[in-house]
């Protein structure tokens, strides 16, 4: 079987990816989903380019089972490579098929035919079009091994900052989100959550509920349905007051979280991530440093939502899940039914930044809707559920030992990363990972989360292997086998801590060597694209000639995401007042070929601002029983008044492969802010977030 690009390899029929309609339209049906990152615009550009039709003719249909290609999860900054790569090949192949047919019919060589907005032109004028030939049977075939996508110099739509196709709906308030679905006869539903992790519902007192609300209970899963949102909210509040739960202390002491990680690691699963032993001079000195971060929340602006409807044995669910097929698999395991009885249809939600409550709420809606066959049920989480019950990005600890030779050059690196796994995404294990599955009368166990393989970028050890030239290296990780709070993927996974730990040690080693932090990094780098982003960011920020100001500082952060993806360098400027504020960020990125440069800049900037928010503010707070930071006052994120000004430079390389943009800048931004704090205050932060309380311990 010939190797095909991206996810065409596993979804090989052209008809799975596109359809051409006689009325002059093209439908593309990628399995990747819109999360606010602009992927549907990117993919539409690629299709329009290869087919040589106007972008306005392309309609990108939201993914749905069973017809969309199974592209797994929209995650890991992989959609442009995996889905875009597939569509580029599929559309180029489709164009060749259509041109072949028309060439044969008209009797002109294929090479003599040009395409202009879908119209085929031969030497003597128009000879047909996609629309006149539109025959889906032509696409009912496996993609050929060879396709000839347009060369970089020929591209007219790819490589341009085309306005996003989803944005008009969003500025006019259109009904674009799953939250806006209004199906005939639809009921509203809410879940009543336990007061503690792992609590069991032991008693539920009867009593009247407003609006003829209906209660659904399966073990400790408790939901309520009513005709309107106000009735269902009133009913949920009334119902909550009638519950009795059996609860116990299951969470570690927050103030001792780092100690708990260290202690739990003794019972964890330790493994080697990378090791290297090249000859090196003896160490003149060794830096031993530890870095720690708390649990982080995805903190989506919209609470998760889903709409489900049962018909007999079949159920259909509208969801903002990142992985429709993976969700379907875990719904089937939970319901103990055949996956083909379930239809999963993607609709947009708010940005998720990773595995938030999107999948969990889909099961909640399915369970609630089972009580009212034939009736659509919209289940919406509360803000408290979104911030308190979604999976979290795990707390982490990194210990680093770095050896320097007599000249201050880095010659040895040993690190150990302790963390829960960074993925409990659905669809990947024998038992479902959806929240309610563990709460049913016949519950499924909650298994400790796992890490993606290093070949896929790793989880906790993501970006833990420095790109700097170091002759001797040993990187190890311990995955915890107990999981007090459910953990899963958030933008960057372990990179948010690993990149900062590497960059912090580089800053400190530079200081010991009496070198400028930029020069010291460049001295340890051979990769020309790494050097290029660092130099570009430094030029943008005027790093070399910068004036030092009392109470202000600048720092540098650099990483190549997953060590295989996009390169990003960030320079941050901070001001130390009663707390530290990030005032400016300068970002240089290299994502290979940029399909939509403005979209890439938007992602790089958004990722860096996300990083600034994590660096300065974010921390999941909990007591021994449950998460306390389940409202915005308890889990503050960066607001307009404190957002840094941002300048960006994109190093576009149209000849190179796509590398993805969504996660590249976040970890470097955190590292750069930490470096800025050192320059402003003379201290080296060791613990996220960089609040006055944590900085006082540095």
């Amino acid at each position: 079987m010939h190797r095909l690009p991206g996810n065409l390899q596993t979804n090989r029929r052209l008809s799975q990816w596109l359809a051409i309609h006689p009325e002059g339209r093209v439908t593309i049906t990628p399995g990747k989903v819109e999360l606010g990152q602009g992927i549907l615009t990117t993919l539409s550009q690629i299709a329009a380019e290869e087919l040589e039709v106007d972008l306005a003719r392309i309609e990108a249909r939201p993914a749905a089972t069973p017809d969309s290609p199974d592209e797994g999860v929209t995650s890991g900054s992989l959609s442009t490579q995996d889905s875009g790569g597939a569509l580029r090949h599929a559309c180029a192949a489709a164009r060749a098929i259509f041109l072949g047919v028309v060439a044969q019919r008209v009797g002109v060589p294929v090479e003599a035919i040009s395409v202009e907005d879908g119209i085929f032109h031969g030497p003597a004028g128009p000879i047909g079009s996609y629309w006149s030939l539109a025959d889906q049977a032509l696409l009912e075939c496996e993609a050929p091994a060879e396709a000839r996508p347009r060369a970089p110099g020929e591209r007219r739509i790819v490589g341009r900052s085309i306005p996003r196709i989803d944005l008009p709906d969003k500025v006019f308030g259109a009904a674009r989100y799953v939250h806006d679905l209004r199906l005939p006869g639809m009921l509203h539903a809410r879940v009543v959550r336990p007061p503690a992790r792992g609590a069991r519902l032991v008693a539920l007192r009867d009593g009247p509920l407003p609006g003829e609300a209906r209660v659904v209970r399966d073990g400790s899963f408790l939901a309520v349905l009513a005709a309107t949102e106000w009735e269902v909210e009133a009913a949920a509040a009334r119902l909550a007051a009638r519950t009795e739960w059996e609860a116990s202390d299951t969470l570690p002491e927050q103030a001792l979280l780092a100690d708990w990680l260290r202690e739990a690691a003794t019972r964890g699963e330790r493994s080697s991530v990378a090791s290297r032993a090249e000859p090196a001079p003896p160490a003149a000195q060794t830096l031993r440093r530890s870095f720690h971060r708390p649990y982080l929340a995805h903190a989506s602006i919209a609470p998760s939502c889903a709409v489900a409807r049962w018909e007999g044995e079949r159920v259909e669910v509208f969801t903002h899940s990142q992985g429709p097929y993976n969700l379907r698999a875990d719904l089937a395991k939970t319901l103990r039914c055949d996956p083909t009885l379930i239809t999963v249809r993607h609709r947009e939600g708010a940005g998720c930044y990773g595995h938030n409550g999107a999948d969990d709420v889909a099961l909640d809606a399915v369970l609630a809707a089972r009580a009212v066959p034939g009736t659509p049920v919209r289940l919406l989480w509360s803000r408290a559920e979104e911030l308190g019950w979604s999976p979290f990005s795990p707390a982490m600890l990194v210990d680093v030992e770095a050896d320097l030779d007599a000249a201050g050059t880095l010659i040895g690196w040993r690190s150990h990363i302790v963390s829960n796994g960074h993925s409990s995404r659905p669809g990947r294990d024998a038992v479902p990972t959806l929240l309610a599955a563990s709460m049913l009368a016949t519950p499924f166990p909650v298994k400790p989360s796992i890490n993606p393989a290093m070949a896929a970028g790793g989880g906790a050890p993501r970006n833990a292997v420095p790109l700097y030239r170091i002759p001797a290296m040993s990187v190890e990780t311990t995955r915890l086998l107990e999981m007090p709070l459910r953990t899963s993927a958030l933008r960057g996974l372990g990179a948010t801590l690993n990149v900062w730990s590497i960059e912090s040690v580089m800053d400190e080693a530079a200081a010991l060597a009496g070198a400028d932090p930029l020069d010291y990094r460049l001295r340890h780098l051979e990769d020309p694209r790494a050097v290029a982003v660092l130099r570009r960011a430094a030029d943008l920020a005027g790093w070399a000639g910068r004036a030092r100001r009392e109470g202000w500082g600048r720092g540098i952060g650099f990483a190549r995401y997953k060590n295989t993806g996009a390169w990003a360098a960030v320079i941050a400027e901070v001001e130390a007042l009663d707390r530290v504020l990030c005032r400016r960020l300068w970002i240089a990125g290299d994502v290979g070929e940029a399909v939509n440069p403005d979209g890439v800049l938007n992602q790089l900037e958004g990722g860096a601002i996300h990083g600034a928010s994590v660096a300065l503010l974010e921390k999941v707070r909990f007591d021994r029983r449950t998460v306390a930071s389940d409202h915005w006052e308890g889990y503050p994120i960066l607001r307009f008044s404190e957002v840094p000004k941002v300048e960006l430079a994109l190093i576009d390389r149209p000849e190179e492969a796509f590398l993805g943009a969504g996660e590249a800048s976040m970890a470097p931004a955190i590292a750069a802010i930490a470096g800025g704090i050192t320059e402003a205050l003379g201290i080296r932060p060791r613990q996220l977030p960089f609040t006055p309380e944590n900085l006082a311990r540095a």
């Binding site: 606010g36 500025v171 006019f172 674009r176 309107t228 940005g351 919406l380 996300h610």
Partner: protein
């Protein structure tokens, strides 16, 4: 019976007294622009204008707007006749997931109505009740400044 003006048109509803304006707008009134984000005036996703002032519709009782003029993002403009702010947000590509934009747009409209040439600090202050998680803040700030210039 509750009567008020919604996006320039008179509306009348029969609702229990304590129903939140947001539920009324998204429910019987059939709008989608005002969004539910927190239910506690902490994120601004549900912001609407009541007599020209930004108010969180999630906690405001619908009954409190009796006889008043309510404007939502749908009332600012349409794809055919966009408000200068909506045109500016598109020109600046100011958004990613977009869930926060409905509320931000109406707050920005209220700002420009009282201060046609706001400085950056003023725009930031006016938008501070709004959370954006995607990090589109700077584009949004530029879009509001652009709309102000184009309305001048």
């Amino acid at each position: 019976m509750l009567s008020f003006t919604l996006n320039g048109a008179a509306v009348t509803l029969d609702l229990p007294e304590d129903v939140a304006l947001l539920h009324a707008l998204r429910g019987p009134l059939g709008l989608s622009g005002p969004r539910f984000g927190c239910g506690n005036e902490q994120c601004g996703a549900c912001m609407v204008l009541v007599e020209g002032e930004p108010r969180c519709a999630c906690t405001l009782a619908a009954a409190a707007v009796a006889g008043k003029a309510v404007v939502t993002v749908e009332g600012l403009g349409t794809p055919e006749a966009p408000h200068p702010l909506q045109a500016a947000f598109l020109a600046e590509q100011a958004g990613q997931c977009g869930y926060c934009l409905s509320g931000i747009l109406v707050s920005a409209a209220a700002l420009l109505a009282r201060d046609p040439a706001p400085g950056e600090a003023t725009i930031r202050a006016a938008l501070d009740p709004h959370l954006c998680r995607c990090g589109s803040h700077n584009r949004i700030l530029r879009a509001v400044a652009r709309a102000a210039r184009e309305m001048a």
